[in-house]
């Protein structure tokens, strides 16, 4: 082998090895950190049975936010206007959280069909709707009547 060729082999070998290791680890990491986004209807249809965390999205049903005075534990209903799931959460809610607003909660279903949220997300687009929630409602044809639709600005 000429030195040039040996160098090329070295470089190609390093690239192949590096990319291989990186992709393997990357895909494994992806499997573990992938979160599905589900609507209450999908959850009740049995889409979240494996006990893994997922993202529950929908609107906070009006009049459903309950909190005992002086307690950080709270509950609220997330609805896609077809089905509703009660969410329990302990902690600080994001500033834009409110009744009639879109919300995404990360957590799992408990046995009693209550969603235990680890995190309630504050991220909204310019129209105060999480994009996934806006999409979901738009696909159900609910966008015009009940929910403020999200447009691509």
């Amino acid at each position: 082998m000429t030195p040039t060729r040996r160098r090329r082999m070295f470089i190609v070998g390093a690239i192949v090895l590096g990319v291989g290791v990186a992709v393997t680890l990357g895909l494994r990491g992806m499997q573990e950190s992938m979160l599905y986004f589900l609507s209450p209807t999908e959850v009740l249809a049995g889409a979240a049975t494996d006990g893994r965390d997922f993202r529950l999205g929908g609107m906070v049903r009006k009049g459903s936010v309950e909190r005992r005075a002086g307690d950080m534990e709270m509950s609220f209903d997330v609805t896609d206007y077809e089905n509703t799931i009660t969410v329990r959460y302990t902690g600080v809610t994001p500033a834009l959280f409110g009744e009639g607003q879109g919300v995404i909660a990360i957590g799992t279903m408990e046995d009693n069909n209550i969603f235990r949220a680890k995190e309630v997300l504050a991220k909204h687009d310019e129209n105060y709707m999480p994009v996934e929630v806006a999409d979901m409602l738009a696909q159900q044809g609910k966008a015009e009547d009940e929910a403020p639709a999200s447009t691509a600005n």
């Binding site: 030195p3 040039t4 160098r7 070295f10 470089i11 390093a14 690239i15 590096g18 990319v19 290791v21 990186a22 992709v23 680890l25 990357g26 990491g29 992806m30 573990e32 950190s33 992938m34 979160l35 599905y36 986004f37 993202r55 909190r67 005075a69 002086g70 307690d71 950080m72 302990t90 902690g91 600080v92 809610t93 994001p94 500033a95 834009l96 409110g98 504050a122 991220k123 687009d125 310019e126 105060y128 994009v131 996934e132 806006a134 999409d135 738009a138 696909q139 999200s150 447009t151 691509a152 600005n153």
Partner: protein
């Protein structure tokens, strides 16, 4: 009238952009000097008319002209004047206009500061930038016109999203965009070189300061965004691996690789095809970032479907720019690289590994960013790829890279002896191991192996960056050029960042606490007392403000005032966190909810060394600035160096 002037100027600018794109490129190819000479006047005119157009939009904002749809959507009479100006780029249309303006200004800079560059190369560079601008202005005019009138005019505007009403809004987007757009210069250099078919070391020397400048702006822009997220948007988080953040980080990674690759091309005439590919890649990712983020496509393909013209235009534009450049590359690249030998242990090898690792990190981040989009487009379900993925795929290439940087900096070109380098660095290695292990364990105690590795890596970067400057001060080291000093500063800054990231992720305390008025909680070494609340009236908001007295071991430290604001127009609540920032730690308090019985929930965080992250990024950016002031770029502008001079500098930067 003013908006129409803006619109008209944009159309004139489009014509000039076409002229700037077509005449110099065709002229350079066909050998017509008169056509080539169009480049500079066209670039100047283009910049002037874009500036007029931008000024017209800014005027409409300052003048509260709510007959302009875009102004009505993003501003309000109550909005403080500074935010009225920043609101120009508060939405999709205006931010694209800002993009075009910055592109025109970069082109103007190329026209003005490139006297040493051969006329044909400069004409081609300006030509490519003209074509990029042509596509962009068309996109603005046909799909995202900020000057559209609203009839009848709105009585008042919709206001700027309260999230964006922050001083950072005035600086973050322009800086970030200046960085994004700046890579168009490197891209244009690459395309121009491929069109001419020749690429030499002189070319790389000309391209380097431009690339480094763009990189500086991008670095500053990203960090400012991260800092903004930290104190305003993110409840104390500073990086979320959010698609928007990734979109700016990927070009940064490739841009960093490009800077290093250009150094090899300049010093050794090697890696030419890699350099070209990285230049194309960095700008392509910048384009992808701009479009996908600003058009909402990255977060939802359905947003894309709801506006097919925009989506189609973006796809065609990306295909033409990226596809065109890559085709040119496929045609020209095979003949470029000369066979010049270098040994497996040499600076070249370290640079190559650096490029591979940075590109791998960018690729894996791209995979994680686009994967949910692809699945969604194929109706395979909505998923999101969380931070654990990105953290894993980012750390894996970065840790070996960081350890290698310290050695690579001290190796020479062509062939080096590993044992000699390690022997020379043994004092540095000893200091690193002692300081990197003992200091953190002494301060915070044992945490985990990864924490330890992080501290050692950060310390190693700092120590190895300071190695030559310290030896120089002791009178035993080599002379340090501006280029080398810039490189050392950038690596030093990176080391500070690594320390900051390691400490703040390992020893961060984050807690949601219920606190009643007059009561206190203990977080780490600190006692925080909720003293009182008061109502505050801001220029365009009402707020409730808490007074939180912080003390440590009985000694008062500070009083923090987190706020919860309600903005008058959009009636949306915002939390305004209060931060007590010291070099060695930040204390962060954000107000949560009124719990009804006189108590509130608060999010309290203790973040050790987070200021190292901002400080390190600042040092890194400054390093770029020092590097571009190196004398050889100025002398390169006048004449090509003599051979001995080049040989004398062969080991620099």
């Amino acid at each position: 009238m003013i908006p129409e002037i803006g619109q008209l100027s944009l159309i004139v600018a489009l014509c000039l952009a076409v002229a700037q794109g077509v005449f110099p490129l065709v002229g350079a190819q066909m050998g017509k000097p008169a056509w080539v000479a169009v480049a500079i006047p066209a670039a100047a005119g283009h910049a002037v008319f874009i500036a007029i157009s931008f000024a017209a939009l800014a005027w409409s904002f300052l003048d509260n002209d709510f007959s302009v749809w875009y102004v009505a959507m993003n501003s309000n009479t109550e909005l403080p004047i500074m935010y009225r100006f920043a609101a120009v780029w508060g939405g999709h249309e205006g931010s694209l206009l800002l993009w075009v303006l910055l592109l025109a200004l970069w082109a103007l800079a190329v026209a003005g500061f490139s006297r040493g560059i051969p006329v044909l190369l400069r004409a081609r560079i300006l030509g490519v930038m003209g074509l990029i601008s042509t596509g962009f202005i068309m996109f603005v005019l046909f799909t995202s016109n900020p000057f559209l009138r609203l009839f009848p005019a709105a009585a008042n505007g919709n206001d700027l999203n309260p999230l964006l009403q922050d001083p950072a809004m005035a600086f973050h987007p322009p800086l970030l965009y200046t960085g994004y757009v700046g890579f168009s210069v490197a891209f244009a250099f690459a395309v121009a070189a491929m069109l001419s078919g020749s690429i030499d070391r002189q070319w790389a020397r000309w391209a380097r300061p431009w690339t480094t400048s763009a990189w500086m702006f991008l670095t500053a822009g990203i960090v400012l965004g991260s800092w903004w997220a930290y104190y305003e948007l993110g409840w104390g988080g500073w990086w979320f691996w959010d698609p928007v953040e990734n979109a700016s980080f990927m070009p940064w990674l490739l841009g960093t690789a490009l800077i290093h690759s250009l150094a090899v091309t300049e010093k050794r005439g090697l890696f030419k095809s890699v350099t070209l590919l990285l230049a194309i890649g960095a700008f392509s990712l910048s384009l992808l970032g701009t479009f996908l983020v600003r058009s909402g496509v990255l977060v939802s393909v359905h947003a894309f479907a709801s506006d097919p013209t925009r989506g189609l235009f973006i796809l065609v534009y990306l295909a033409v720019v990226i596809g065109g450049a890559l085709s040119l590359y496929a045609w020209r690249a095979p003949g470029l690289d000369r066979e010049v030998g270098f040994k497996p242990f040499s600076r070249e090898t370290f640079m190559l590994l650096n490029n591979i690792l940075l590109a791998a990190a960018a690729g894996l981040i791209l995979l994680g960013t686009l994967y949910p989009l692809v699945l969604d487009a194929m109706n395979l379900g909505k998923i999101s790829v969380g931070p654990p993925y990105f953290e894993t795929v980012f750390i894996i290439p970065m840790l070996p890279l960081i350890l290698m940087i310290g050695i690579g900096m001290h190796t020479v070109w062509r062939s080096a002896s590993a044992t000699a380098v390690l022997r020379r660095l043994r004092a540095a290695i000893l200091v690193t191991v002692l300081a990197g292990v003992l200091i953190p364990v002494f301060i915070w105690g044992w945490n985990s192996l990864l924490t330890l590795v992080g501290f050692v890596a950060g310390t190693w970067l700092i120590v190895s960056s300071l190695f030559d400057p310290v030896r120089r001060m002791m009178g035993t080291g080599p002379r340090i050029t501006r280029g080398m000093a810039g490189m050392q500063m950038a690596h030093l800054g990176l080391g500070l960042c690594v320390l900051g990231i390691t400490a703040t992720t390992s020893f961060n305390i984050e807690t949601d606490q219920r606190i009643a008025l007059g009561e206190s909680v203990v977080v780490g070494d600190y006692t925080i007392e909720f003293e009182s609340t008061q109502m505050v009236t801001g220029p365009n908001y009402q707020a409730i403000r808490a007074d939180m007295a912080v003390s440590k071991a009985g000694h008062p430290v500070t009083v923090l005032h987190p706020e919860k604001r309600i903005y008058n127009v959009q009636t949306s609540p915002m939390t305004e966190a209060a931060i007590d920032s010291r070099l060695y730690r930040d204390l962060f308090i954000a107000m949560g909810d009124d719990l009804g019985d006189g108590s509130w929930s608060f999010r309290i965080q203790y973040k050790p060394l987070i200021s190292f992250l901002w400080l390190g990024s600042f040092v890194m950016t400054l390093g770029g600035l020092v590097a571009i002031t190196d004398r050889r770029y100025r002398s390169a502008a006048r004449s090509t160096d003599s051979a001995p001079e080049q040989a004398a500098r062969a080991n620099a930067g």
